[in-house]
Symmetry: C2
DNA sequence: CTCTTGTGGCTACGGTGTTCGCAAACGGAT
DNA sequence: ATCCGTTTGCGAACACCGTAGCCACAAGAG
């Protein structure tokens, strides 16, 4: 008769305490913040609605009062992290300003390893993403008054940053996923690489590995960035002749 | 004695027909091919082991005889699509060769919209990925004998390509996910954009949208690529002085 | 004909995102 | 002080996922 499977508040129905004393409201910001913390620390795979709810000490279904879906939450996370550092002050020196934008974007992408792969696949239209666009355009505007050209310059530079960090993250992510240290990773990949090289195909790749004088990630990024800025600047400076009346 | 819980083939045990007539073996290649088709057509989200098995008309669990896990399958897919077009013949003209590599990479990434976001997050160490690396290095070797410099040049160019296509895909992916046409998408985003611009922040972004003279994706890609190649070439040509004895 | 072996796949487990509908709490009007 | 409409939290359930264990069968060996 009495239902023993009901729960631990075993007897008197009317004596059950208020289920919860009206916890503090989750609110969109709190949810997004918690989700970002989880994703940063344990990767996107560990980010589940249940997990977020647990960290917030609220019920899972409650989250849906504030966020339409997991996908929605991801969009909010993306914009949130993009707004966590203020855009640099424009100095009027387009190259310095653009470099600052690029470095800031890189730092953001590295701080949140899930960001890059999630950004490939959804357009950044949130307020903070747009502010970043605007800041970059302001920098480029100092280089040329032609907004079309400036936009293309910005696109080119941001594309480079995006791709460079993506490749930079790839290796780190792989290590993180397997839980190995830098040392262990090298040791586990080494034999395979040696074997491939010994095969004789890929002679240039073999040379690269053998004479490996690879710089650290920072230097590599800066090298590429300088190249891109050089190229963009030269091309933009050359272009206006083609369109003046 | 008789086990009634055995199943619905209720009477004669020996009369049950062979459950399935021993379908043709899945084999790794067949599995990978099927998975790629699904991911291309319906996105990575639709790619489940059950779905692959259904398309192959085999049992789900059977796939695990050939593939260790879903993650493994993704790695195999990545390398498979990278090998589906042969690398271009090197001509000795580094710029032409590098352009060919870049265009080919872009084409591959566009043909398989899931590739870019999956590549951010795992290093490409498959045979076909390595061949691509090697081809690019061969092109760069025609520019400089310094393999370290060549490697950095390749990294820079590939980073740009990767990032540029990533941004290019973002919008398309968003549309695809919502199932809207180009037209509908523009209409659904338009009001929001107008609202943001009307807010007065983001003046440069507003200019860009207003004076929108944006070229098509192909032109944008080529513009950026030329910039990057210009910059890389100039910097590499200038560098060797710093390291000669 | 029997025995061994390899292989396909059913079943099940523990997780996921999401929905439904109820109960509790709140806020205003009476 | 009491009632009532609205908002809010959330337990339970659904459909689906990746994966492990085990069993039944086909094919080859003796």
């Amino acid at each position: 008769m009495t239902d023993p499977a009901k729960g631990p508040e075993h007897i008197l129905v009317w004596s059950k305490q208020r289920r919860t004393p009206r916890r503090q409201a989750p609110s969109v910001e709190r949810i997004v913040r918690a989700a970002v913390v989880i994703a940063d620390a344990e990767g996107l795979a560990a980010l589940s609605m249940r997990r977020v709810a647990a960290d917030l000490e609220s019920g899972t279904a409650s989250l849906y009062r504030y966020v339409e879906s997991r996908d929605d939450l991801l969009d909010l996370m993306i914009d949130a992290v993009q707004g966590e550092t203020a855009p640099p002050e424009p100095t009027g020196d387009w190259r310095a300003d653009m470099t600052a934008v690029a470095r800031r974007l890189r730092a953001t992408l590295l701080r949140h390893p899930w960001l890059a792969s999630e950004l490939t696949g959804r357009p950044a239209l949130g307020a903070n993403s747009l502010r970043q666009q605007d800041t970059a355009l302001t920098a480029a505007a100092a280089l040329t008054a032609d907004i079309t050209l400036a936009a293309q310059a910005v696109d080119t530079v941001l594309s480079y940053v995006f791709g460079a960090v993506g490749r930079e993250l790839a290796e780190e992510q792989a290590r993180r996923r397997t839980g190995l240290t830098e040392e262990q990773w090298r040791e586990s990949v080494g034999p395979y690489i040696r074997e491939v090289i010994a095969g004789g195909a890929y002679p240039q790749f073999a040379r690269r590995v053998a004479e490996a004088d690879d710089a650290g990630p920072d230097e590599r990024f800066e090298f590429g960035l300088e190249c891109v800025l050089d190229g963009v600047e030269a091309r933009v400076r050359r272009a206006p002749e083609n369109r003046g009346p």
